[in-house]
């Protein structure tokens, strides 16, 4: 009887362990299949020319596979959207964690969550049919589908990530610190800026990095709103074509296992490496500067 129970116990543990490995397995398989389908392009063009080439004309003859403008587009869209999303996200988090009354927080918090739940295609559609004509009118520009519009839409997609993770970080600051500061006569604002934010800075950085990582990889918004011109942007109102947009827009037309198809998978590798890097950095920060009680400050 006891033996049977113990062996069931062992089997169950092993069973759960093997399933818990599924995430790593999937991650690994994603990597393997991206490489299988993407690496053949480097027989046609060198890694250097692929990453730094200025011309992306995959369908002309001879074709050009330089993704430098696409990388720049992705980076500039992400940077601009972060400039909007980080202040808004962190400020909302501070508001929710420190200022809002319980009743208000109970209304605002679900709203932020619902904002996160909006399908990206709906946000892209909104950017296309509502924001683009609006921008075109007020700034008097040729097209409202441009870098700025895409960054704006992306910002509202990464705000929920930044906001909810920052809020968790702020909550995890020990109350003793806050009370100490208030007892010394600091105002609530001074306590927030000089005590609470510095104590939660690692959590907030993690939140910011994950938010940016979401912006880099977001596809539908940049596909529908960024304008799609594969050139290095000259101003924030230039149409651009970030990496994910290229993959999504061209995969359907790319001949199966042709150079173009391989090149799109190679873009996938670049994108994957980008986000992997972001996530590893976020993970490092979260682990190294983890706040354990008050002693480590």
């Amino acid at each position: 009887m006891n033996n049977k129970r113990q062996s069931t116990e062992k089997i169950m543990k092993r069973f759960f362990f093997s399933i818990a490995g599924a995430s790593i397995t999937i991650l690994f398989m994603i990597m393997v299949f991206l490489f299988i389908e993407g690496l053949p392009i480097f027989k046609v063009v060198s890694v250097r020319d692929f990453l730094l080439g200025h011309y992306w004309y995959p369908t002309s003859d001879p074709a050009d596979f330089g993704i430098f403008p696409l990388i720049i587009a992705s980076l500039s869209v992400t940077a601009l959207s972060s400039a909007i999303a980080i202040p808004l996200g962190v400020m909302t988090a501070v508001y929710l964690a420190e200022l809002a009354s319980k009743r208000v927080a109970e209304i605002v918090k679900p709203m932020v969550e619902l904002l996160a739940a909006l399908p990206s295609v709906v946000i892209g559609f909104f950017g296309m049919v509502v924001v683009a004509p609006f921008l075109q009118d007020i700034f008097d520009i040729a097209t409202g589908l441009n870098l700025f519009n895409a960054a704006l839409m992306l910002a509202f997609m990464s705000i929920p990530t930044i906001c909810s993770l920052s809020e968790d970080a702020i909550y995890s600051v020990p109350t003793g610190l806050k009370e100490g500061s208030l007892a010394l006569g600091a105002t609530h604002w001074e306590t927030i800026v000089r005590v609470i934010l510095p104590a939660s800075v690692s959590g907030i950085s993690t939140a910011v990095i994950l938010g940016m990582s979401r912006a880099v990889g977001e596809t539908m918004v940049v596909l529908m709103v960024a304008g799609g011109a594969g050139m290095i942007p000259e101003s924030i109102f230039s149409p651009v074509r970030p990496l994910p947009a290229s993959i999504a827009a061209e995969m359907a037309e790319a001949p199966f296992r042709g150079d173009h198809y391989y090149a799109l998978f190679a873009i996938g590798i670049v994108l994957f490496v980008f986000t992997l890097f972001f996530n590893l950095v976020a993970d490092q920060i979260a682990h190294r500067y983890r706040q354990v009680g008050e002693a480590s400050l």
Partner: protein, 323 residues
């Protein structure tokens, strides 16, 4: 604010003399200091209030963004919604008719993804929360989950295309789409299940173990039943996430138009998000079908936000109960 606030000159003192005399005529010296403090305090409070207003504004902007988007979809989409729109197939190269195949396709995709991801996700979470001991193995698994959560949706699409569609020869099909979306929603399910497991008090486990139950018996008979509502909430969130995704199904499951509802899991399907994308960007009738685009977007929003609302309300009720 700084030391300067403390330096009250004689003139200032004289200026404000009447009020001081009124309130505390006999303790002039104390009043000076008190006054200085009060002035400084007022200024600090003012700064505080001003900055807090900014914070409040930031929160309002976020709330407003949601309201504005939903408002525009409602305003422009509501006229397209009719019984026919919801129950008929598209006609006349998508310019008329309904979106029934898209609704069915999206629901099937979401359900299929959850049916696959839920058991795997729950089992992973059980291992992480109940069995695993802190160490490099746990760290590696967590790192894997976090990174999987961060993989861009379009890369999931590429993976689905290369692995399910081509390598496993499933073709562009419902099955390939479900599997791709399952991989994508796995981290969501694991995260919410872990939260649900953590909310079960340790005393439950201790009581069960103390009565002589094994760990597995404890998990199966005590921990899982107690955390079931939380797990189901996570499942709903995962379902809504899967239903709203576009990029992963572009290459794996969805097609522009298929006249029939799917008959088997190896059929191509239509899906709401992809339908919006195609109507809004491709084809020759973009302006003509604008109201259909709004209508489709509205249906998708209603579906996704409805599920989320249910999950959020349910969860907040659970949390209140646990307190």
């Amino acid at each position: 604010m700084g030391k300067n606030d403390m330096d009250i000159t004689k003139d200032q003192y004289v200026e404000e003399k009447p009020r001081v005399l009124k309130s505390a005529p006999k303790h002039r010296k104390i009043s000076v200091i008190q006054q200085a403090f009060e002035a400084r305090h007022r200024r600090r409070k003012l700064v505080e209030q001003l900055l807090f207003a900014f914070f409040r504004a930031a929160a309002v902007i976020n709330g407003l963004a949601l309201v504005i988007i939903v408002f525009f979809m409602l305003k422009n989409g509501i006229s397209a919604i009719s019984w026919e729109f919801l129950t008929e197939v598209p006609r006349d190269s998508m310019t008329r008719g309904g979106i029934l195949p898209c609704i069915v396709g999206t629901i099937l995709l979401g359900l299929g993804a959850i049916v696959i991801a839920l058991p795997v996700g729950v089992a992973s979470a059980i291992y992480l929360n109940e069995y695993a001991k802190p160490g490099p193995v746990l760290r590696a698994i967590r790192l894997g989950i976090n990174n999987l959560a961060g993989v861009p949706s379009v890369v999931f699409g590429l993976f689905g295309l290369a692995f399910f569609v081509i390598w496993l020869k499933m073709g562009v099909s419902l099955a390939a789409g479900c599997l791709t979306l399952a991989a994508l929603s796995l981290p969501v399910i694991i995260g919410s299940t872990e939260e649900a497991l953590k909310s079960v008090p340790d005393t439950y486990r201790e009581a069960s173990l103390g009565l002589g139950a094994t760990k597995w018996q404890t998990i199966y008979r005590v921990v899982l039943p107690a955390s079931l509502p939380g797990i189901l909430t996570g499942a709903i969130l995962g379902l809504s996430r899967a239903a709203g995704e576009t990029a992963p199904i572009m290459f794996t499951a969805a097609v522009f138009y298929t006249p029939d509802l799917p008959g088997s899991i190896f059929d191509e399907i239509m899906a709401l998000p992809y339908h919006i994308y195609v109507l809004a960007t491709a084809g020759t009738h973009i302006e003509e079908t604008r109201h259909l685009q709004y209508g489709t977007a509205l249906v998708l929003i209603a579906l996704v936000l409805g599920m989320n609302m249910v999950a959020i309300l349910w969860r907040s009720r659970l949390r209140r109960k646990l307190k």
